[in-house]
Symmetry: C2
């Protein structure tokens, strides 16, 4: 029976972020049976956050069984540096994790075979397979929010790199001598074109009192014809185009999917960005440039995909470690 | 018997460049049974070059049989744009090819199942599997000569991209507003740090009569303490470090292998480049930076690897298309 999905199978999926957790029960065909959200409240410290993750994962597992579903595996994704092979949250500033063996903790609590992954990589995987990149063999997913990160997905598999650190497009040089990045180097893409960089740059130039203007606000003012906002927005667009052209030169994809907060600017971002990108492509084939389709549930769906992908191997484990017995208990 | 190598099996491998062809008979374990070189003389036009390729491939096939070896497949690699799936040389300026169905032509002439590939990608594959990247799972091979190109190899497989154009690291932006590249854009890595860019920049700054100074000459003068040469060389090193740091941010490899003419500068390149690269790496893991080990035979060995990799599928074909009968003839 190993690997054969039954109509009631689901995986438990958790996307753990700095402020909230997006959670779901997902069927093997990628459809969602149930979703719920919980606050992370990272300020409580790592131990408290881990306990919340475990409680939520356990609760979802039990909820599935009460609904007559069969939880077969669990996928958890987190930000920061993740050792996917070891199942360890190496370093996640947003949630305060440092060397937390999260995979084993979740497995022990839920009784389910568990996979640990990286949130942006999982989100990119979901966009490539279920979202805006569906049907394209070669996809680059770029999330533009507080930071900028990418996932390169070929034939439904996301590249991890040798140390789980592939896809750091936010830290490629686009403006030598430019604004200093959080990573310590000047001129990184993230330091010029992330949502926070746009807001910061506008604040520097206007030096206005009052509430800070967000990147979306800058885009709106630019569209309304305010010259300074127009200049800041265009600088970000040009830098993004430089970064995407570099990505295309190296990866040669068919489709670039943009997600994250900045992508919600819609045509205000995509229209000038398509023009700027096209200017930079010479010998390259021009990729389709499309907005992400899954919204903020991409990471959670990606967590589900990671668990589903690992099922054939995990199923063997679950047969060994007594999950069928737990299932028997549940049906009493 | 499909796929089972016998002790006399060899593949016929050709690396076709603008000036010369490097050719070999290679055993399934990667050892070389025979090598030969021929001039390409590209100025004769595409038809004449194709005829030379076919004659050389046929000659190598016959030579193998005369030596009691069994040619089982043929691998041909060329520069430029290659449609590997269709087996077509789409556009190779160096050798004058434009939409040449080279795979089918070689197959028809030699009677051997044939694979067509890209020269730099094949060379990178050979360096990753047989050369300086041997044993490393994630390798970035960068060839720095007249141009700059890269191959990303993970677990012995080279990334091709959606259109066969992946790895164009020569055309990533490193110096906005910098020297114009052959591709038409300003500030590409290739326009600042290729061997020809280094020679050109030095000539511009010195404006001296006499024979032009090559990049190797600039490196030598820099090492001898000539300030202008030192400045030009350091500019190239800094740009290369920027390009490699971008590569590491996106690919996260364990080993970067540098080949091509510029890499022959040895410690004059590698010593300052390691320092400059290290300065740029913050969160990234630092890759090993090593010179290529296979010299100018990497492309030819890569052609052999492509043919060997395709053998399981090709063997089925060769059984169908009568190669065993040809072998029987040869033993008369």
């Amino acid at each position: 029976m190993t690997g054969a999905a039954t109509p009631t199978d689901v995986v438990v999926a958790l996307d753990v972020g700095g402020t909230g957790m997006k959670c779901a029960l997902v069927r093997p065909d990628g459809t969602v049976a149930h979703t719920e959200r919980h606050p992370t409240d990272a300020g409580r410290g790592a131990s408290a956050v881990v306990e919340t993750v475990l409680t939520v994962a356990e609760g979802l597992t039990e909820r599935a069984r009460r609904a007559g579903l069969t939880p077969v595996a669990c996928g958890v994704v987190i930000p920061g540096v993740v050792d996917e092979a070891a199942g360890v949250a190496v370093w996640s500033a947003n949630v305060g994790f440092r060397d937390v063996p999260l995979r084993e903790l979740v497995r022990a609590r839920t009784g389910l075979p568990t996979v640990l992954g990286h949130d942006v990589r999982a989100g990119g995987l979901a966009e490539a397979r279920l979202g805006a990149g569906r049907g394209a063999g070669h996809v680059l997913f770029v999330a533009i929010g507080t930071g900028i990160a990418a996932t390169h997905v070929v034939d439904g598999v996301a590249a991890t790199g040798a140390h789980g650190a592939a896809g750091e497009i936010g830290h490629i040089l686009v403006r030598p001598g430019g604004p200093r990045c959080g990573c310590g180097r000047p001129g990184c893409l993230e330091a010029v074109a992330s949502a926070s960089a746009v807001a910061r740059r506008y604040a520097e130039l206007t030096d206005a009192g009052g509430p800070p203007v967000t990147a979306a606000g800058v885009a709106e003012r630019a569209a309304a014809g305010e010259p300074l906002a127009g200049r800041v927005w265009q600088e970000a667009v040009e830098a993004l185009a430089d970064g995407l052209a570099t990505g295309q030169a190296l990866f040669d994809v068919t489709t670039v999917v943009l997600g994250g907060g900045l992508a919600q600017a819609g045509p205000r971002l995509f229209d000038p960005l398509r023009v700027a990108l096209k200017e930079r492509l010479t010998f390259h084939r021009e990729p389709r440039l499309v907005p992400a389709a899954l919204g903020d549930e991409a990471g959670c769906l990606g967590a589900a995909l990671l668990a589903l992908d690992a099922r054939p191997a995990l199923d063997d484990l679950s047969t060994l470690d007594g999950v069928p017995a737990l299932n028997d208990l549940e049906t009493q």
